[in-house]
Amino acid sequence: MSVRSADDSCTGPSGACVAEGRWNFSVALGAGVRTNPLVGGEDIPLVLVPHVSYYGKRFFLDDLDLGFTLADNDANTLSLIASPGYDRVYFYRTDLQNFFLTGYTAAGAPSYLYAKTAPAGAEVSAKVTPRPRRITYLAGPEWTFKYEEITAQLDLLHEITGEDHGNEIRAAVGLPILKSKGTLSANVGITWNDAAIVNYYYGEPAIYRGGASLDPFAKLAYTRALSSKWRFDAFTEYERLGSAIASSPIVDKHSVTTVFLGAVYAF
């Protein structure tokens, strides 16, 4: 099977293309925050965010994601990927995803969680004993396709680490909306989790059991190269949590907002 097609335009380094067989390291320095929707959950600071990736001929590593590319050309890329379950970051500051989101933090797992005892908005809560949410990995096909300036992506994932056996769909569309010295781009998409995943993170035995959740998000990002090594990055992202998550007694916010302003240095 050929990985490349005849119209492959990746002939040199660019924003869309990377060299095979080479490690890529970068670090973002700046100020930002990702809100934590859990009751009493601390927001996640964005100050020093490392990024590492490696692309072989077919294999790739992208922070904590692993992948194997089956086909790749200018219009379509089909890969099999494995990606960690994301929601654990709200429960454990030491989750490795938080390392790649926020850099090192010494905070550990919460000794307890708060649960709402009244409808959202009321200032009443009670402690519930936390149960472990282990690191999970989901795996499945990832299809990325490009039409002119529009890029879309679809992931169909199944949990493979035997914790919740759930399914997740990630879908997004992105396009640059302004290109001058920098690029302003917009992404919109959804994350759909089935009830197994929702309840693994947000269910409370004998208290709450949710169904599937559809979480739409929108992101606006601006990036501008400052030199061959430095670039300026700013973005804001808003994710609306589906009602099955937002109705959980351990969740008191209906959305997650992320903002960041800073510089990225590529080694």
Binding site: R4, C17, E20, A28, V49, K57, D62, D74, Q153, N187
Partner: protein
């Protein structure tokens, strides 16, 4: 007599054609931009980029020699800020610190910068680097 005249005309024709061809080839040489009396040399002549190198950064030493005194300028193609001229010299040297990712073309031109008198290329040779599409991940905060 008639056949002699025809032979003479043919001979004259070949002579005119031959001279014309010679003149055209000389003119073509000038258009090609080299004058064999002027020799331009570069050091180094090649920059090899390893897998992890993004660009060449090196001091380049250019020197030229001519059989006769010349008035000319050394320029680098697509770098209008680089220009070093000599008037009535038969040789010259020039050193410059360059950062480049593609071949760099050095040219010796007349003072009007109209005629290329000699040209040399500092070549960039890359290790066989293969490129592929970077993964896009809209969920990633820095993608």
């Amino acid at each position: 007599m008639r056949s002699k005249a025809i032979l003479s005309r043919l001979a004259l024709g070949w002579l005119v054609y031959g001279l014309g061809s010679l003149a055209r080839s000389q003119a073509g040489g000038a258009v090609d931009g080299t004058d064999e009396d002027i020799r331009l040399t570069l050091s180094p002549r090649v920059c090899t980029l390893a897998l992890n190198d993004k660009q060449c950064e090196t001091q380049v030493h250019a020197s030229w020699q001519a059989a006769h005194e010349e008035s000319l300028c050394l320029v680098i193609l697509d770098r209008p800020n680089v220009k070093r001229c000599w008037e009535h010299y038969s040789q010259g040297t020039y050193s410059i610190e360059l950062v480049f990712t593609e071949d760099v073309v050095f040219q010796l031109k007349d003072l009007d910068l109209q005629r290329v008198m000699a040209s040399e290329v500092l070549r960039v040779i890359r290790e066989a680097i293969r490129y592929r599409h970077r993964r896009r991940e809209p969920w990633n905060i820095f993608d």
